[in-house]
């Protein structure tokens, strides 16, 4: 799975996710990536793209929950990402996500062994990071 989230200089957020799914999957299987609210979501406050165990991400509506926690509970982007990773992946689901807020913040969270395929982020303030996270 690959994904990108961005906020532009007008504070508008967007998210995109694309995948081939899982090796040896049943033909016709649909994962979280195309499901708005599960693997991908964007609204006025943030943009989110997920990766990992699709069935768990669907059950946890991970991407939408990050936005909902910011909208309804007033959490920061990082707080919302942490909360979702810790509390919404019940049942042992393994996943990771990247997110940006309309304020230009970037956050990443995962409970899988690592993001061994890597992730990268940057912001207008000069921050830039590329890494394999574990």
């Amino acid at each position: 799975t690959v994904g990108c989230v961005a906020v532009d200089s007008n504070g508008r957020c967007a998210a995109a996710t694309s995948t081939g799914g899982l090796m040896n999957k049943m033909s016709g299987r649909i994962g979280d990536s195309p499901l708005i609210g599960a693997g991908t979501y964007a609204c006025d406050v943030c943009g989110v793209s997920c990766t990992g165990e699709g069935e768990a991400i669907i059950r946890g509506t991970l991407a939408r929950d990050v936005a909902a926690l910011m909208e309804y509970k007033g959490l920061s982007l990082e707080g919302a990402v942490d909360f979702v990773i810790k509390n919404r992946l019940d049942g042992g689901g393994k996943a990771g996500l990247i997110a940006v807020s309309n304020q230009g913040e970037v956050a990443c969270g995962f409970n899988s062994v690592g993001m061994f395929r890597g992730s990268a982020s940057a912001s207008q303030g000069g921050f830039m990071e590329v890494g394999i996270w574990e």
């Binding site: 200089s9 508008r12 998210a15 995948t19 042992g92 689901g93 393994k94 940006v100 993001m115 207008q124």
Partner: protein, 189 residues
């Protein structure tokens, strides 16, 4: 307003044994894609244009599990899916079950902008792709030798379970389980 920002991911791999050279390749590709997105944002591109641009680039490279390089189904074919969402107005588009569309994320964008719907799948999605004149390729284009070998391994090891590959050496070292099965049986996604 806090200025622009961007993040890119290549998948939450669960294989701790992913060779170092593959990790380096992944870093290089992610850096290139990140720089592509940064350049676009600096020139005033909209967030939705940027995420499509970056994901197209990732789909085109066979290193990651999307577009060319996608994981294979039990039938040894590729079925891809993608979505895109513009936070401004909560517009969205999604596609599933694509076998011939070169860049699924761009078809998802067309669903968002040129169709009255949010989500198209399988033959309906590919009919729409033809109507819109998007680039189509044969399914073979997406299949890599590495993924054919991985599928063979998965089938040899377990013909009943789906969505998994065979346990590798990581099993003993990482006894973490996912859905009741050792995490090592999952293909690195």
């Amino acid at each position: 307003m806090g200025g622009w920002a961007i993040a890119v991911h290549g998948g939450a791999g669960v294989d701790p044994n992913l060779p170092m050279e593959r990790q380096e390749e992944a870093k290089k590709l992610l850096t290139r894609c990140l720089n592509l997105g940064i350049s676009a944002l600096r020139t005033g591109a909209s967030a939705v244009d940027v995420v499509e641009l970056v994901v197209r680039e990732l789909e085109t490279d066979p290193l990651f599990n999307s577009g060319r390089g996608s994981a294979l189904t039990e039938r040894a074919t590729v079925e891809m899916e993608a979505s895109i969402m513009d936070g401004h107005g909560r517009r969205c588009g999604a596609v599933s079950g694509l076998t011939k569309v070169k860049n699924p994320v761009s078809l998802a964008r067309l669903v968002m902008e040129k169709s009255p719907h949010s989500y198209l799948a399988f033959s309906g999605a590919e009919d729409f792709a033809k109507q819109q004149g998007v680039e189509m390729v044969e399914n073979d284009y997406f299949i890599t030798e590495e993924n054919v070998a991985m599928l063979k391994l998965a089938k040899e090891t377990n013909s009943i379970l789906f969505d998994y590959r065979i346990p590798c050496s990581a099993e003993a070292e990482f006894p973490i389980k996912m859905n009741g099965l050792p995490i090592s049986v999952y293909a690195p996604e």
